[in-house]
Amino acid sequence: MSIKALDSRNAATIAADREARFEARIGAEEKIEPNDWMPERYRRTLIRQISQHAHSEIVGMLPEGNWITRAPSLKRKAALLAKVQDEGGHGLYLYAAAETLGVSRDALIDQFLTGTAKYASIFNYPTLTWADIGAIGWLVDGAAIMNQVPLCRCSYGPYARAMLRICKEESFHQRQGYEIMVVLARGTPGQRAMAQDALNRWWWPVLMMFGPPDQESQHSDASMAWKIKRFTNDELRQKFVDATVPQAHYLNLTIPDRSLKFNAATGRWEFGQINWDEFKRVIAGFGPCNAERMRVRRAAHAEGAWVREAAAAFARKRRAAAAAVEATPPRAQAALG
């Protein structure tokens, strides 16, 4: 065999060995860290997933931010402010985790603002009443928790650790939302009706949060094999329904699904057909609020440029002042006092 042929055979063997060792680490439930070797596809799929998760947190601040000025009491306003602040923080943890994979913050923000990157479809729906804030905390955060708890065991270290932080903070979000629903459901007829109306509008979009049915999900197989994803879309969706139906019954509210039926044999709640056409339309950009969400985010980025410039300018000023003090001879420094 020629030298060249030997070299390329060696290169192929080395590459195969590396892949095999990586798969063995995944199989042994080892965590992959930023400087470890990883297949390019693993890296790219994580960048996509983590950054889209981050974009979702930031966009998620908008439907709830809509009601901060109109919260019915100071306690509710403070709690909502804290929740929205948390969502911003969660976005930051996730961007930081994505960046460990070798992509810049600027590139990620750019992908988001140009519409190249996706974000969770649920945030393309409007918050029409105060009860929507309760429904979002109870259902949207509830669904997010269902998705996020398994991610705490994801194979990529920085993502798993970010998820641990997020999960600790997320449980206040769901309780805050459910408490709002409890108060409304036990309130005046008008308040009960408002709560029921919010449930009617949010229930199906929340079920769509778990993504397309298993047989249609594009990215799932590799994600499961690499222990990024631990449960399938349908498995998580079913878990969510089983956990949430009793919570709705406690509120004496009706879930807007005529096919909802308890199966005593499996112990599970069977539910009706999801309108996947609506899901595809919303993901493609034709939901009620897609255009507004993007407009607001682009404006915020453009209008916030002066803050970023000011921060950089102030840092330069501070460095120059510090350098000037250092360059001054000791006696003159003492005189400066």
Binding site: E33, L92, D106, R161, A311, A312, F314, A315, R318
Partner: protein, 95 residues
């Protein structure tokens, strides 16, 4: 430093008196003072800290993950560093 290329900092927080600072994550900031402010906002919203350290990520020297086995082998083979290696008769009580 352009408007957007803020340096990266690693954040360490001591959660109570007497504990160690632990790594909690990273963030971008224009300088050390802003990094402390951002760290407080991003990583200590629930009063989890008595003290924050921020370190430029570029200042950290890390061991090469590829060298892990080599680096830690000397320790791995010295099981007599562990208390469980030694037998103490039951009659003596806890030691």
């Amino acid at each position: 430093m352009t408007e957007t290329s803020w340096p990266l900092w690693e954040v360490f927080i001591r959660t109570r008196n007497g504990g160690s600072h632990r790594h909690v994550g990273s963030l971008h900031a224009v300088d050390a003072t802003m990094a402390l402010h951002h760290a407080r906002d991003a990583y200590a919203r629930r009063g989890e800290g008595v003290s924050i350290w921020v370190v430029p990520s570029a200042a950290i020297t890390a061991s090469d993950p590829g060298d892990r086995d080599l680096l830690f082998e000397p320790a791995a083979s010295k099981i007599y560093r562990h208390p469980t290696f030694y037998e103490v008769p039951d009659d003596v009580g806890h030691m």
